[in-house]
């Protein structure tokens, strides 16, 4: 059913179908956006149960440095139809003394599900050691290991928690700043507007990445992980509120002289009441769209800052922190699996962009 006829159907069944209902009907038609929503659901699902999905802890070292990704075998003798991986061995080159980790076909490790691994605390609430999968003696590294023999798969999974939430927390701060400043600017106009516009111009004139870097570098090294995390989200939001406040301002300028608003004012409604009950619903959908499109920018920002060592720092793991290991040509060409977190960044950011685009189309009442 096309969007137009679907909307007509909704309108027919009830003349008072809400704006949100109409948006949802149009949104459902946008297949790419719908798929993106599913992908994002997967990412946040992973973030929610990350320690259960990851077979190891993010900092747990092993003697197998730079092990290549383990292949899953399904038809090994004695393990037909069930997944198994080869064990690993370390070989030293007699001339260069370089140590290489290779799969060892003589050792077969069947993959077991719901195993007991190392202890973790889930959201500081539940202590557990249940892991989705693992092997009995030896280790399983689906995405290989890094220089300290840590499991790249586990690290990428655990990093998801930080990377996908940075955007959400940052967007909340963006929303508060953007709505307040843009709202004041557009509603009161005059001097308030002039001052905020100049300030906005200033923020746009300082190039984003250098600004983030300068502020990121100022975070003291002795701060706790939590403090650093929130500082980074605030730093990211310090730049991103400008777009939102600009939109809020122009919408308010457009709406504040509408007759229904003037009527409310004449009837003696307070400023906050006019803004919250009369003006805000008029552009709430636009706000949501622009906030959705702001999240991927923040994820990219955090990744870039952490990649350059000015954002989150080990032992915190985020995608950007993990990519620090892949900073030079030598690392990339010898151990390409270290780049995997980059794939997750690209997929996640793509999904957010598609979702935002779908929402934008759905929220536009003139688009049929």
């Amino acid at each position: 059913m096309s969007a137009t006829s679907a909307i007509a159907a909704v309108r027919g069944e009830s003349h008072s179908a809400s704006e949100w209902r109409l948006m949802w009907v149009k949104f459902k038609d946008h297949r790419l956006a719908l798929a993106s929503l599913a992908v994002l659901g997967l990412f946040y699902g992973i973030a929610l149960v990350a320690p259960f999905l990851a077979p190891y802890d993010s900092w747990q070292p092993s003697r197998f440095a730079f092990a290549p990704p383990a292949k899953l075998h399904f038809f090994l003798p004695g393990h037909w139809g069930r997944p198994a991986v080869y064990g690993m061995k370390v070989i030293s080159n007699p001339e260069t003394f370089e140590r290489t980790t290779l799969p060892d076909p003589t050792k077969i490790l069947p993959v077991r599900f719901f195993v007991r691994g190392s202890q973790y605390t889930w959201f500081g609430l539940i202590d557990s050691n249940l892991r989705l999968f693992g092997v009995d003696d030896g280790q399983i590294n689906l995405l290989g290991t890094d220089i300290l023999g840590r499991d790249c798969f586990s690290r990428a999974i655990l990093a998801t928690r930080i990377s996908v939430t940075v955007g959400i927390v940052g967007v909340l701060i963006t929303f508060v700043l953007g709505a307040l400043i843009g709202g004041a600017s557009g509603y009161y106009g005059g001097v308030v507007d002039n001052v905020t516009q100049r300030f906005l111009e200033f923020v746009t004139c300082v190039p984003t990445i250098p600004m983030w870097m300068a502020l990121g570098a100022a975070i003291p090294s002795y701060w706790s992980d939590v403090k650093v995390y929130f500082s980074i989200t605030i730093i990211l939001a310090l730049r991103s509120w400008t777009g939102l406040s600009r939109q809020v301002r122009s919408k308010l300028l457009q709406l504040r002289d509408e007759e229904y608003v003037v009527a409310a004012r004449v009837a003696g409604a307070s400023d906050s009441r006019i803004i919250l009950t009369h003006l805000l619903p008029g552009f709430a959908s636009y706000l949501i769209v622009s906030l959705t499109l702001e999240i991927p920018r923040m994820i990219l920002g955090e990744t870039t800052l952490s990649f350059f060592g000015l954002g989150l720092r080990p032992p915190t793991v985020s995608w950007g922190v993990l990519l620090q290991d892949a900073q030079n040509l030598a690392a990339i060409s010898s151990y390409p699996w270290l780049m995997f977190p980059a794939v997750m960044v690209v997929i996640c950011v793509l999904a957010f962009n598609f979702l935002g685009d779908g929402l934008r189309d759905a929220a536009d009442p003139y688009k049929e």
């Binding site: 111009e201 004139c205 984003t208 870097m213 570098a217 991927p296 960044v345």
Partner: protein, 338 residues
């Protein structure tokens, strides 16, 4: 007729004056921010200086330190320090870089030409690639080409610039067997100009310029496509078509020109974006531009250098905004009237 020209000139110069005034307000705010960059890290310039000295085995006694602190004015109030810094900056005295053991102004002026070269070249490349693609996408909406362009645009938006530079560096290494790093090969650095050096430079330029350009291209293509789609639906296009104007002439002469307006007005914003791109790409590829210097200065807590870099980049961006505003005013008579 003369009167009319005179009136226009007055309106325009008044507009330019107003813009200049606002730009100077923005510059003051920018200088506050740059000063903040110096002040933010714990400790001051002398603390890191003492640390550098003690690392190299030299001690500084506290009396000497106090007199130095007085000489540099670090014992005075924040406002006095700011005023001191900003007036010196205006005179071209940006302090001393501990990292490079040179004057900050020297470090920056060595890199400014390279920065401008990369910026201008990537800006041109950006326009050259994205305007035709945007026009094509709008004219052949929903065609395979439009679809392919959209995929490239979205991927470009989703790929962090550092990743793109890393991957391209890898590809160039695999295909050509050369490792990119910097704009010049080591043997040509700090050498007088020669044809060999120029050729060498040409060989190193494309990847950094391409990567910096790609970072902002996605947005430009999207804007071009969207505005042109709006224009193409308008009646003057139908009229021109009905009168039998050749399609190519029609598109490029009228709707494309209209659609270019928002792109001109985003010129200043684009410059800020390019500085961001240049910083990231420059660090990864080791370019001799300002961004990477700022990064190294931040890591080494060489705050005068870092702050001056931020300041210089912002000043250039403010100038970019000013120029694009003025061009727009000359281009669009509607702005002159209001």
């Amino acid at each position: 007729m003369l009167n009319e020209i005179y009136a226009r000139a007055v309106i325009l110069s008044r507009y330019v004056l107003k813009r200049l005034l606002w730009a100077s307000v923005v510059l003051v705010l920018v200088s506050f921010f740059s000063f903040l960059v110096i002040q933010l890290p714990p400790g001051d310039f002398l603390d890191s200086y003492v640390e550098t000295l003690s690392r190299s085995g030299m001690g500084v006694d506290s009396a000497q330190l106090a007199s130095l602190r007085h000489a540099y004015g670090l014992d005075r109030s924040m406002i006095v320090q700011y005023w001191d810094w900003v007036t010196r900056f205006a005179r071209g005295d940006m302090g001393i870089s501990l990292l490079y053991a040179k004057k900050v102004s020297v470090v920056i002026s060595e890199r400014l030409p390279w920065t401008l070269l990369v910026m201008i070249a990537s800006m041109l490349l950006m326009y050259l690639i994205s305007i035709p693609i945007g026009v094509y996408s709008a004219r052949k909406q929903y065609s395979t080409g439009d679809f392919a362009a959209s995929i490239v645009v979205f991927l470009g938006m989703a790929t962090p610039a550092f990743l793109l530079s890393l991957v391209l560096m890898w590809v160039v290494y695999l295909v050509f067997g050369i490792s990119l790093g910097g704009l010049q090969s080591p043997q040509f650095m700090n050498q007088p100009f020669s044809w060999a050096a120029a050729k060498d430079l040409l060989w190193h330029l494309p990847v950094p310029i391409f990567v910096v350009a790609v970072a902002g291209m996605a947005n430009l293509i999207r804007t071009m496509r969207a505005t042109l789609l709006d224009e193409l639906g308008k009646q003057y296009v139908t009229t021109a078509r009905a009168k039998g104007l050749e399609e190519k002439k029609l598109i490029w002469r009228y709707p494309v020109r209209m659609a270019l307006n928002p792109i001109i007005s985003s010129g200043g914003w684009l410059l800020a974006e390019l500085f961001s791109g240049d910083t990231v790409v420059g660090i990864v590829l080791g370019l001799p531009t300002i961004g990477p210097v700022m990064y190294r200065a931040l890591l080494a807590e060489d705050m005068y250098l870092a702050a001056s870099c931020v300041m210089v980049m912002s000043i250039l961006t403010v100038i970019g905004f000013l120029i694009s505003d003025i061009i727009l005013a000359f281009n669009d008579p509607r702005i002159q009237l209001s």
